[in-house]
């Protein structure tokens, strides 16, 4: 299965080659991440690391960058975030997938941020990052993106709407894929209803915190309040 990623650009001139090139380059960034990090592509660097065919230190610098962020995320969330997940046989293996999506989306979005007079919205499988140059010239209504937060109990409904000019919106829950979120503290997959959405400047960190708060202990919210400056939580 793949993950759908869509990009929307609003501009008076979306037909221009400048916009087309930026969108294409944004997708190139995501494709590059897929090529390096996919656990489904046999020859991706992460797949090779998982088979111990490649030392992380010898991998692409971007892989090293992600490993560093994974370590930071583990420390900040008191290990509620983990980059070691059970494979099909239940063996814990290096798997930064949960973080790479937001990381790649933020990277792709930064390419779109350079477009003059345009605002953008990138949706990566339900996690959203928006922004754009239009913010700089007076925050007109065209730069506001209305992000609907899905109701996890009735996915045909929108539970709440978040309006933002710039930043990320990430939601973690079990509604779309069943019990797939892993709790490293118990070694089990979390199977409870509801969802947690985090809104903040970086989609990657919003996503890390959304997952950590969903799988972690209730007390983790104190850690979030202390360290996740500029981020807020929406519970459904």
């Amino acid at each position: 299965m793949g993950m759908p990623i869509s990009i929307h650009v609003r501009s008076a001139d979306v037909d221009s080659s400048t916009v087309a090139r930026a969108v294409e380059e944004a997708f190139d960034i995501v494709r590059e991440a897929d090529r390096l990090f996919s656990t489904y592509q046999h020859n991706s660097e992460v797949s090779r690391i998982r088979r111990s065919e490649l030392e992380p230190a010898q991998a692409d610098p971007l892989v090293g960058q992600v490993i560093t962020v994974c370590q930071q995320a583990g420390e900040l969330t008191e290990r509620a975030f983990t980059d070691h997940l059970p494979d099909d046989d239940g063996v814990l293996r290096f798997d930064p997938t949960g973080l790479v999506k937001g990381w790649a989306a933020d990277r792709a979005a930064s390419r779109l941020a350079g477009l003059q007079g345009a605002s953008y919205c990138l949706n990566a499988g339900g996690d959203v990052v928006v922004g754009g140059a239009a913010v700089e010239d007076g925050s007109g209504p065209e730069s506001i993106w209305r992000v609907g937060i899905e109701d996890p109990r009735d996915r045909s409904r929108i539970a709440e709407v978040v309006e933002l000019h710039h930043g990320g919106v990430a939601t973690s829950g079990t509604a779309a894929r069943g019990a797939h979120l892993y709790n490293p503290a118990t070694g089990t997959f979390v199977d409870r209803s509801g969802s947690i959405t985090v809104v903040g400047p970086s989609l990657m960190w919003a996503d890390i915190w959304a997952t950590a708060l969903f799988v972690g202990p209730a007390s983790l919210i104190n850690r979030f309040s202390e360290f996740a400056d500029g981020y807020r939580v929406i519970r459904q």
């Binding site: 869509s6 650009v9 979306v14 494709r31 937060i149 990430a170 779309a176 894929r177």
Partner: protein, 159 residues
Amino acid sequence: MRRIVFAILSTITTVVLLFSYHTSTNVASAASRTVAQLPATPAAPVSPGSASQPRSSTKSGSSAGTSSPANYTGAAANTRWGTVQVRITVQGGKISASQAVQYPQGTSRDAQINGSALPILNQEAVQQQSASIDTVSGATVTSGGYLQSLQSAIDQAHL
């Protein structure tokens, strides 16, 4: 006010399916829960577009909407369960209906999946479009073919 602003803008939508994700521990559940990602602008040009591939770009113009319904059929998408193809009906710039025109019918599991997944997809396509939102944040979507096919139909409609 918002619509006036939209009328002088345009939207480019590009969809790509990447990042192979872990399947759920419950395959039937993963297959039956599907969310539709709808494109941004509720502006309303609905003249039938030429067929496009799911991964190609589509651009919407700024012409006014029309009230006569038009049908758009998405490109067939190959899923692990078989081929899925979705048709949407657009009226006045909004999706008024969506239906699967091609879907796996081989096994009892197919019947089970289709019995729950396709109505959910149809309902969501209509309800999310009618809400005044640009995009949806929710639990990670991996619905692959279902969405790919619906999205390509939407792209054709230049919603």
